[in-house]
């Protein structure tokens, strides 16, 4: 029976998904490795193999290096910011509050909107004479005022902050779902044993929230490394090139017609993301098996 039933599930139902996924996602990634080593240009018919030249150029071009540094800063800042805030919000909104559902909906709502919408709304607010600086002045913290989008030394941090503002609610919702799967009995037992709030958070909440923490770390990290739209709309990579990230540099190379170079940058991103995420993935799968 077992053998027969196995052959019943013929692979032909896998084919359509496999075909679409392979043609439009996997094949481009694979040929990307080849095109990374060519001088492929929009305005030239011939494509020649040029060895490591594109990669040499990436590692000697200041703008490209800055873009990689900015991408890492953005990823690290948003991973920490989104997850710390989201856990705090989730724990607070898991308490018996009167306006709990209202607050959950409010904090979640920006994450369903387009990054484009949020970025355009924040543009006038972040100007030197904008709402955010005016607010600091009103509450007597005028020294906190910054040229948020025009000061090259802080602009990538500003973009990261806008992203945290928008997406923390999404992470919060995953943490809330995780919290709801934790049995109340653990907390009751801990209270009887005399454990305070902080102790039960460290010894009960955090360990049992691990699946949600894993998935959120992975989602925010991968999303952070792939950042594009926030920078594209808020700053366009500027002022100068101060806020360029890998995603916007690829678009620039594409626009300039340097398709080989653009593909090489993309391949590099592919390798970086994979190297960082695979250990996380293996860790998660091992945990699944252990269960």
């Amino acid at each position: 029976m077992l053998k027969r039933s196995k052959s019943m599930y013929a692979y032909y139902l896998v084919w359509p998904a496999l075909l679409i996924y392979s043609v439009f996602f996997v094949v481009p990634a694979i040929i990307g490795f080849y095109y990374s080593f060519t001088d492929w240009r929009l305005d030239r018919d011939t494509i020649t193999y040029i060895g490591w030249d594109n990669f040499k150029r990436i590692f000697s071009d200041e703008t490209l290096l800055l873009a990689m540094k900015n991408t890492l800063i953005f990823a690290i800042v948003t991973v920490i910011g989104k997850n710390v805030l989201a856990i705090a919000l989730a724990v607070a909104l898991n308490m018996r509050l009167k306006t709990r559902n209202f607050l959950r909906a409010i904090f979640y709502s920006p994450s369903i909107l387009s990054v484009l919408v949020i970025s355009i709304v924040f543009t006038p607010m972040l100007r030197t004479e904008g709402m955010i600086n005016r607010m600091f002045e009103t509450i007597g913290l005028g020294s906190f005022s910054q040229a948020w989008l025009t000061d090259p030394s802080i602009v990538i941090w500003t973009v990261a902050a806008v992203s945290i503002w928008q997406h923390t609610g999404f992470q919060m919702a995953i943490y809330l779902a995780g919290l709801q799967s934790i049995s109340k009995e653990y907390y009751e037992a801990a209270t009887i044993d005399g454990a305070g709030l902080w102790k039960s958070f460290i010894h009960i909440t955090l360990p049992l929230l691990l699946p949600a923490i894993n998935i959120n770390l992975m989602l925010t990290l991968i999303g952070g490394l792939k950042v594009f739209s926030e920078v594209f709309v808020l700053t366009g990579g500027g002022p100068g090139n101060a806020s360029q990230v890998v995603g916007t540099i690829i678009l620039r190379a594409f626009g300039e017609g340097s398709w080989g170079l653009g593909t090489a940058i993309n391949t590099l991103l592919f390798i970086i993301v994979t190297i960082i995420s695979i250990p996380l993935l293996i860790f998660m799968r091992r945990k699944e098996v252990a269960e």
């Binding site: 998904a17 496999l18 996924y21 481009p28 095109y35 919408v117 995780g178 739209s229 594409f254």
Partner: protein, 276 residues
Amino acid sequence: MIFKRKLALRNYAVEIFLLIASLAIILPLLMMIFGSFMTSAEVTKFTIRLPDKWLFSNYVKVFQEGGLGRAFLNGIVITGVSSILNIVTSSAAAFILARRESKLSSYLYLFFFMGLIAPMSTITTIRVVQWMGFYGSVTSVIFIYAALNTAFSMFLYSGFIKSIPKVLDEVAFLEGANLFSVFFRIITPLIVPVNATVAIMVFMSVWNDITIPLYFLTDSSTWTMPLSVYNFYGKYSRDWNLIFADLVMTSLPVLILYLFAQKYIVSGLTAGAVKG
């Protein structure tokens, strides 16, 4: 008793703090909504207050001058067709991979799962689409979105299908049903809630996306909302009332979807949180 009162006091303190914090979310959104009804002189102060007069005509104007009607329909077509394509293909594939507990099927699952991690290779995707002869078309974008969302959908489906007892299909097979009818008559009705979750998740990500249209939709008559709004934003950068009206129109479909389909979003998030 004292303990209980202390607890209640703590809850009040947390609640008040959160209500104040929620202003940080509410105020920028209110600025956009109120601003979309103001005159262009009134809106440039960028303060949060009710408009002197509610100008609904701003919305009429963005539809006429910004070509939003066209973009809205393009968005509906691209989002709708790619969601359906994604749902049908991913659920069928996930069904087979979840039922066959072989080495090959788990490798295939991993192969699909890589799509959740790896960034897409944009410029070479253009190359592939050019080879196939439909670069710049709506069709190419539909297939690309279906491909990009395959990994996530398969992840949701396979978790759910594994919880459906295999006996159900086996009985049907014994009665002479073929694989096709087992999938469409037995499995499909049972996975309706997941279909809803996947449909909403795909709809939201595709509707809101600006990257793919930027690279793949070369003709402005095929643009979706975010790209045409971005273009409008560049052109009318003085008329913030119109820009805000544009942004509200872009957000409305996902907001409505969110209000009506909240429980399906939550169930999708729960799958991620609990299964990791």
